[in-house]
């Protein structure tokens, strides 16, 4: 056999697809996997919200303990300084909601 014929045969062999069979329900399995990961993600998001709520309740309790015996609201204006921080926190939660919760909930 001539060299160019051998080369041509080699090229054809190299271009022949690899014979590997995937299960018929391949795409179903992929979607099921995504679904499972969504559930795990939902759980972790719930944990984060739960922890945040717990932190809020603890902070509120501490505030009540500190200010319960005082008959003045003189400290309230100082709390206003935290407005910016609260705004940033709300934006962060919105972003997380948009990125993680809503987008993922759409497909499954």
């Amino acid at each position: 056999m001539r060299q160019d014929e051998i080369d041509q045969k080699l090229e054809e062999a190299l271009k022949r697809p690899v014979e590997v069979s995937m299960s018929a329900e391949f795409s179903d399995r992929v979607l099921a996997k995504i679904g499972k990961r969504e559930v795990l993600m939902d759980r972790s998001v719930k944990w984060v919200y739960g922890l945040a709520m717990f932190g809020f309740l603890v902070s509120a309790s501490v505030c009540l303990l500190i200010f319960a015996d005082r008959d003045t609201l003189v400290y309230l204006p100082q709390i206003g300084v935290w407005g910016l921080l609260i705004g940033v926190m709300v934006m962060a939660i919105q972003w997380l909601d948009h990125k993680l919760v809503r987008k993922k909930a759409q497909l499954i």
Binding site: M1, A13, L14, R16, F26, S27, V30, K33, L107
Partner: protein
Amino acid sequence: MEDKVLVLEVLKGDQWAFRQLIDKYQRLVVHMVARLVDDDRDREELCQDVFVKVYESLDTFKFDAKLSTWIATISYRMAVNHLRKRNRKIEEQDLEAVHFSIGQEDHSVERTDYATFIHSLIAQMPVNYRTVLTLYYLEGFSYPEIVKVTEMPEGTVKNYLFRAKQKLRALSEPYVGKEIHDL
């Protein structure tokens, strides 16, 4: 459906569009994974994981490359990570140092067709050679696209292709024409 439309539909949450995307690129992913991962049981699992990763990262795809190049990159990286986890040696190996088993003892070469024989030789090559052969010949990727997927210099990609082909030619030449089945 065009890739850009397909991606946008998937990002909107269209499940049917994602199935279309899987159908369209399943061959590419299977080729990449099958050429790099030897274990049959791991292959399908890894192919599925590639598409999960594609879905989860799709919002980061900026259309600055072809979707096929991007998916091939994910497949390549995940296959390489899989091999690393299995403690397989994937660092640059010298092709000349590989001892190719060509089944002379049981005359299996004569019993199989030429293409299958070539595929069995490729399976014994180092990972980088298998990768460039797959992308270039099976998927028709250009050199710049292979560079993007593998992050190897273009000269290295060309060198690997040349040397792999040279090796395959040398190893298979004595058996050409001896096989029972034609291509």
